[in-house]
Assembly symmetry: C3
Homo-oligomer: 216 residues x 3
């Protein structure tokens, strides 16, 4: 594993932990048992990549080739479950608010890294010339896990109703796809992820929202 | 593109626009932002074919080989969003009622065309001798998008509870599969689609429903 | 078909009937029409195996190679629909209670058989050395149909909230995978299924539940 691969792996792990946390927290709030909390944690973390691989015909999906992503998801889900099990008052406290603020940043890192890594996976599977497919699998890798989480928990997918989330993923995807035609792949990878991260954080901070029709 | 292929393409586009419209309208009513409205529009239009391709092992799915279906879905979703954004009173007006009546006819055309084209796709992928598979992928291509739309919007799938919808698709599928053994493929294709269309319109007009157990 | 294959087939059919029944009953209670009841019955019975096959890249899924599973699901769904259609008072009676008690046992047999058969399918597709994949597809084959049923019916998946269900499947999967390294495959298959069955029945009888965080 060379230097830039190591950096990518570290960022992927940050994203995995952030996504798994968001899934586990939804499960905890929906009063699921520790198994359900783990399923939601794992699904949120690796679900997007799994959908991507099925679309690309990569079987079995990559989540089965390297256990560390699922392993990290299980670990963080169990840790969160234990913390809130032992301290139920945390669920209605300041702690959760702070925790979620931290999570938004980690989640944005995950969104960025997963988006560009999804595109790289498609390129490696030799779909380089299908621009629409590249953008699609980038966005699916980034937001698919969260959509599965919400559908499984019986909620309207977050991505449909709040803040600029999917758009950040799509814009970063487009940046990466254009940049890699002109500069080194790894550098464009990081720049694409950075674009996602920055747009997402700005959107969260300033509460940017896409237009929507308010019904009286 | 020869004559009958052009006619098929025109009918496919009519179906795509009708399906995308029904998805976009659900998104607008569920108060989703413009991104969510587009996702629901695209999903409804191409979701059924996507499930079919994954079942048949056609990867990446055909929606990635010809952008015009997704492009048309995005276009109609954005047009509808803009119309209702600028004229919110339309949402509770006569206009919507008329619009939906027109849509039922277009939707029925889509259901018919998608059903038979789904079967043709499976035949081209050399599954000609598996009758059950042919009927299944025909129906999935026809009704799968609408089912995904409803699940994503948090509703009980329409197809489970109202009017003879899936049955029309299945009966047309059976007609096409039988007819093509005796007459030219293209003619049986149109006849199969016509059967779906006619049954569906009759069912909508006379409010035919399948039996159901009303609980006191 | 030799002796042990016949026994496996019989157990698979018991599981299919039990799973299809549970799906059909959910549809009946959700006031779906006879088509919806059939879709839920079929989905619950063969949905888990279908997800497994897509993950393993077995296309088209095995449900299309042997119609008897889908056929049995349609048969039992129609029978149940007819019974409750003709005798609506049964829906609120003692009969249903007894029926569901019988179903829990049949369902446990199905869970056991489907879990180990899912693993065997993956082994036959030469994924023998990927332990995590084996456990995953075993559990997905066992519980996937029920999860699809609940999502399609708009409910929080049962498996997330009640009794030790998925855990039974996972423990039996682990037993089968370990045992088959030491004793004959068919014997370990039955022992693995038996472990699932016993844990599941004990859990249902003693109302074992996994820990969960009760929110005030």
């Amino acid at each position: 594993m060379n230097h830039s691969n190591l950096i990518i792996y570290i960022f992927e792990m940050i994203g995995t932990v952030a996504f798994a946390s968001s899934g586990a927290l939804v499960g905890i709030r929906k009063n699921m048992d520790i198994f359900g909390v783990n399923v939601l944690g794992i699904t949120t973390a690796v679900g997007g990549g799994c959908i991507r691989d099925i679309i690309l015909g990569i079987t079995p999906p990559k989540m089965f080739q390297n256990f560390s992503y699922v392993g990290a998801s299980i670990l963080i889900s169990c840790i969160l479950f234990t913390i809130f099990y032992l301290n139920q008052e945390l669920l209605s406290s300041r702690f959760l608010e702070t925790y979620e603020r931290v999570m938004i940043s980690l989640d944005a890192i995950g969104l960025g890294v997963f988006t560009v890594m999804g595109i790289r996976t498609a390129i490696e599977a030799s779909f380089e010339n299908n621009i629409f497919l590249l953008i699609f699998v980038g966005a699916v890798t980034g937001i698919g896990g969260g959509m599965l989480r919400d559908v499984m928990a019986g909620m309207t997918p977050f991505v449909f109703v709040k803040h600029v989330y999917a758009i950040a993923s799509i814009l970063g995807a487009v940046c990466y796809i254009i940049l890699r035609l002109y500069i080194r792949d790894t550098i464009s990878l990081f720049l694409g992820a950075a674009v996602v991260l920055i747009i997402r954080l700005l959107a969260a901070h300033f509460r940017w929202n896409l237009p929507r029709i308010r019904q009286k």
